[in-house]
Structure formats: structure tokens, C-alpha cells
């Protein structure tokens, strides 16, 4: 049976209904997600605000167009933020009339809850996935690069593998941006999922030179202090704490660091977006003379950047890599449901 666009959109809409049902139960689900994700309880509730529960007609059309067509899709969720299953299932369900999903072993709760709430016979949980036994269709794998490479190596000929790997977000504050409000919005984008998402900003380029960059760093430090009282930082692994200690010292050397027990803001006086901090609540601030220098500043990192948030995304757009998602600051973690979050080539 050939599914038309309307059928595909309807299947996604039913998934969004399930998402709203799951969202309504978020307090009940939160303890398991706190334990598996390491986020604080408040952090989990903040993360739920990024769970897609609606989509415009235009976004649905775009999602269906981006999803393509397959007889069946096998979704493998390996390493992702806890709300990621909704979009992964929406893309898969738009593409195929049969979908199986293997939830992340570490963080299976949302995928299980969505599948249960959807009650869609075409959407089936598979707690184990034998990639080499999949005979047709597509595999959509979300995880680390080595996981994607392993799935590709095991997939049978003719089975299409779409890999969605890790990435980073960055922020750009233009010359006209209000530093205090930009800092507050950026702090929120950082705090959602404690920087563990591929859209999470890890660095901010500040147009207007070193003094403005320093002022933004100070404002961001203050914003993190305020946010900690509302949404405490979650669990940080010892190796990440060690990486953060080393990064803080490197940034203190390179330009300056403003930090507390829960966050750090480092200023790279001479540029160098490569000084990306470990996840948690750590941000590199890089001075930028003008937006036209953004691509040069990104250098080889351009291909790793999945999202750019800015006070003026339309101004930044012409200077950004073509694949990135652009949004206003404070909205980086809530992209429209118009396809995979990561627009880089995935095959």
C-alpha cells in the first residue's frame, strides 16, 4: 500500500498526541529520567519543555519531505538527550508504515512511554536489535561515531543506514545584542540537558572585540549563578570534572575565567573556538571583530556545528555554515519539528 503525504502527516500527528500525553505524565516519569540522565529533577522538567508536542502544517510537510520513503525503518537510539526519541520516531514513522525502535539502554524511558501512549500497531519496541538480521528498509541510528560506524559495518547490503552523530551548538551575539538578556537566554540554552545535546551551545562568539566579549563573559557568569538556584546542575562524571579543571586553567591562561562550583565561563582573548569545554555548564567566549569573520573563526569546527543561536539569526545566517539550524537565543533547544535536528549529511 502506498502511503500518501496526508497519511504520513496523520501518523506523525498521532505521535504528537502521544507526546502530549507523555508530557502530561512528566512528573511521574521524571525520577527514572533523573536516575538515567544524571540531570537534576528541575533539569529533567526543563528538558521536558523541549519535547515536541505540536507542529505547524508547514513543519509537518517539511518533516515528511525530509523523511523520505522506506518500507520499514529500524530506529536505534544509542546516545541522545532524553526527549530525542519523539523526533526520531516522527521521522521514522513519516518515512515508513512499519517502525521498530530500540531504546537507549541507558535512557529508555521516553521511547517506551511514547510507544505505549501511541498505541500504534505500526510502531513496535525492540529492546534488542540484531543489525545483521535486518533484511530491508532503513536503519536510523542515533549515537556516537563509533556506534554509527559499527552499525554501518554490520548492516546488510541494500539496507540504508542513516547515522545521526554528535555535534555542538554555538552562540553568536551581534554588536547590537543586549548583553544581559543574551547572557540570560544563552544560560538557559546551556542548562537544558546540561550541554549534552548536539544543539547545546558550548561557545559564544561576541561581535565587537575583547571588551564586549569580557562583558558578556561576566554577564553569563551572573546568569549561571542565578539559574543554579532554579535549575541546579545535574551529575557530572569525574572525567568531565577533570576535563573542566584543565579547561578552566587553560582559559584562565588564555584570557580569563569566571567560575563557581557549578559552572565556568572562559574568555579566549586571541580567539580559538577549538577550546571547546566539556559538557556541564561551561562556555568559551570568543571575541569576533565582525560577523564576516565567523567562518574563519570556526575553522575546521564548522562541520561539527549543528546549531547557531543568536540575538539576530537573520544577520548571522549569511556567515554560518549552510547546514546549521539557526534560532534565536533561548530557543536553541526547541527547533521546529521539520526533520532531523542535525541537518548534516547522514549517509
Amino acid at each position: 500500500m502506498i502511503r500518501g503525504e496526508a497519511d504520513r502527516q496523520a501518523d506523525v500527528v498521532r505521535l504528537l498526541e502521544a507526546s502530549r500525553e507523555v508530557y502530561a505524565r512528566r512528573a511521574e516519569l521524571a525520577p527514572d529520567i533523573v536516575a538515567s540522565s544524571g540531570l537534576s529533577p528541575q533539569g529533567v522538567l526543563l528538558g521536558f519543555e523541549s519535547l515536541e508536542r505540536a507542529a505547524s502544517a508547514a513543519d509537518l510537510r517539511a518533516l515528511v519531505a525530509a523523511a523520505g520513503d522506506a518500507p520499514c525503518v529500524h530506529v536505534i537510539l544509542s546516545a541522545n538527550v532524553f526527549v530525542a526519541p519523539l523526533r526520531a520516531l516522527a521521522v521514522a514513522r513519516a518515512a515508513a508504515s512499519n517502525v521498530t525502535v530500540r531504546p537507549s539502554r541507558r535512557d529508555p524511558w521516553l521511547a517506551r512511554a511514547l510507544v505505549a501512549a501511541a498505541a500504534d500497531p505500526a510502531l513496535v519496541l525492540a529492546e534488542r536489535a540484531d543489525v545483521s538480521a535486518i533484511a530491508r528498509g532503513e536503519i536510523h541510528v542515533y549515537g556516537r561515531r563509533e556506534t554509527i560506524a559499527a552499525v554501518r559495518s554490520m548492516a546488510r547490503p541494500g539496507v540504508r543506514v542513516r547515522g545521526h552523530g554528535p555535534g555542538i551548538g554555538i552562540a553568536v551575539v551581534t554588536r547590537a545584542g543586549n548583553l544581559a538578556s543574551c547572557a540570560a537566554e544563552l544560560a538557559r540554552d546551556v542548562a537544558v540537558f546540561d550541554q549534552r545535546g548536539c544543539l547545546s551551545p558550548r561557545a559564544v562568539a561576541v561581535e565587537g572585540g575583547i571588551d564586549r566579549a569580557r562583558a558578556l563573559a561576566e554577564a553569563l557568569h551572573a546568569a549561571f549563578e542565578a539559574l543554579q538556584a532554579l535549575v541546579p546542575l545535574g551529575e557530572v562524571a569525574p572525567a568531565e570534572r577533570a576535563q573542566a579543571a584543565s579547561w578552566r586553567d587553560a582559559m584562565a591562561f588564555a584570557g580569563g575565567v569566571w567560575s563557581s562550583e557549578h559552572h565556568a565561563v572562559g574568555l579566549a582573548a586571541r580567539g580559538g573556538l577549538w577550546a571547546i569545554p566539556p559538557p556541564g555548564r561551561n562556555v568559551s567566549v570568543i571575541p569576533l571583530d565582525s560577523l564576516s569573520g565567523l567562518r574563519a573563526e570556526l575553522g575546521p569546527f564548522a562541520s561539527e556545528v549543528t546549531a547557531i543561536g543568536s540575538d539576530a539569526p537573520a544577520q548571522v545566517g549569511p556567515f554560518a555554515p549552510s547546514h546549521v539550524r539557526l534560532s534565536t537565543l533561548g530557543e536553541m533547544q526547541r527547533p521546529p519539528l521539520d526533520g532531523p535536528v542535525d541537518r548534516r549529511k547522514n549517509e
Binding site: 542515533y142 556516537r144 545535546g197 576535563q243
Partner: protein, 367 residues
Amino acid sequence: MTPSLVHSAALHSRARAMIAAFERGDAMPEPFDALAIDLARFQAAQVPGYARLCAARGLRMPELARADEAPAVPADAFKLAPVFAFDAAAAAITFRTSGTTLGARGAHSMRDASTYDAAAVASGRAMLFAGMAAPVAVLVVGPSALEAPDSSLAHMCDLFARAFGPRGASDVHFVRRGSLAVPALRDRIAGLAGSPAVLLSTSFALVHLLEELAGAGLTLPEGSRVMLTGGTKGRSREVSADALRRDVAHTFGVSERAVIGEYGMTELSSQFWEATAVRADARPGVYVEPPWARVVPVDPESLRPVAEGDVGIARIEDLANVDSAWAVQTQDRVRRASGGFELLGRAPGAPARGCSLSLDEMLGQAP
């Protein structure tokens, strides 16, 4: 000469006095901490980044009483900011780290490389060339410093060829224009006529040389030695240190104790050596510091020294790094052992949580 250059020159002299005393077998002319504290104060005054790092730790230099209270400069800082105590135009030589796919290359500039050279030759004489009659044929399975002018390793190997090899020797390097020159190396070894030689190489180059030889021997004269440095992780083929040592010994016809490991970094001026050529009780895998340098395992988070025998990451204090960073914080895991330290590889990355790019992935070191 500006006051800072006068100060720098005086500190270089004190570092070289230590090196000279070591060469003579004399006691050190001053305590390690005395020079270390003066270097820390000098660098805090002349290197803005170090001043900021000390300030971030709340350290007031006039009150510095012990060297270990002064922070070490993270090795990554060499990629981010100038780490030198002089005007950039005065740099006589700049060594650069090899870099990664995404990372910038670190730069270590020196105004006066003579302290580096003196330290390298003194350590090399004591640990690698010890007991060998001069001159010794030096064979470098690596590029010359002319071909790789920003490689500190190429600089050191050339230095050894000049210091320990025959005067004016020309047939020294066996990586030419980026390729292994195996026939030339074979001819050179055949022409040694029984005189011991020292072959200097990276582990990576030796792995490739062994592959090209495909099991064939390339026997060095009796009494020869082979220097190994660097790992093979992240390369096309990873080989364990023990297996490589065994294969190298077999291929070159030397004992495993004559395969001597060196540990160095672009960011340093001193090197550390296995002592298997000079001490009967020395274990392979244990590296020994010269008296002007020390390796302190520290806790990765607090950066405080760990208990004796525990594993930490290496804080390397190098008094020959006069104009850059007297203490460098690495991410290499080490443990004190038998008068030296064991090198245990890079600190492990954090387990993956979520889909953000990890630092290991950024550096091309994903497990």
C-alpha cells in the same frame, strides 16, 4: 639588554649550571625549589597568561614559599595563547605540536635554545649513549630538522647526531621527503663494519619500518641501541609498547634492554628516559628524570599530588623551560615507581551521555 632579558639570562645560567653539575657528577649547585620559585616569579611577571592563571588561583607571587604552590600551565594553553617571556620577534626557534583534525597546533618558542640543547645532550649522554665509545654512528629513522624545522624531536635527533656522531656525518636521516628510505638504511647498517650504532625513531615510524621489512632482519652491530618515543594510538595500526619493543629488538638483533624509551613533549625542554641501558635493576616502562626536572602525579580534579604509588596525571616541572612554562600540566597518567615514573597513557574520556560532541571526539581520540 632589557632588565627582563638580563633576568632571563641569569636564570638560564642557573639552569645550565645544574645541567653542567649533572654532567660532571657533582651535587646540584642549588636546591630545585630555589630555582623553581624564581622561575615561577619571573614567568608570572613576564608571561601575561601565567600571571592570569596565578591570579585565578589567588596566588600572590611575593608570598610564594613552595614551588608546588605555583600552578602548572595546561599543555592546551600552548595552543591558545603565547607562552613565552620575551618579545615575539626575539624567538630563535619555535617548535609546534603535531595537532589534530580539529585542534590548533601548540607552539613552544625559545629565545635561547642553548639550555634546551644542553639539557637534551646531557640526558642523552647519561641514558642513551652511556658507556659507548665516541663517536657513535647515529641513524635517525625520521626527518632532518631541515625537513621538519618545527619538530622538537627532529631537533633533538639532529643534536644527538652532531654531539655523539662522527664529525660531518651526512648519511643520518632515513625518512626523506616523507618516505622511509629502507634501502639506504640497509646500506648504511651494512657499512657500519661492526661498530655499534644508535638508531633513533618514533614508535610510529618503527611500526611502518617493520611492516616494510615484512619480517626480514636489519641487524645492528653488537652493542647498538634503539631509541623509541611516542605511542601509536590513533595511527593506522596500534601496537602495544611491549610487542613493539619485542619486535624492534628481534628485527635489529639487540636485547630488549637496549631498546630504550624516551618521553618528551614539545612543550618541554627536558626529556625522560628509561634506564635499562645504565642500571641493571631498571625496568622497561619506568622513566627517569634528570635532576633539573620532576614529574609529579596529581589528582585530575584538584591538581594536588596524589599519594605515593597512586596514579595521577603528570605535572611536569622542568627548570630548563626558562622562558616559557617551568611547570606544565599534562593529561598523561603516571605513577611513581622505582626511582622514576611509569607512563600509563592518556586520561580516559568521560562516558558518552547525550549527543554532544565529546572532547575525545574533538581531538580525534575517541576510544
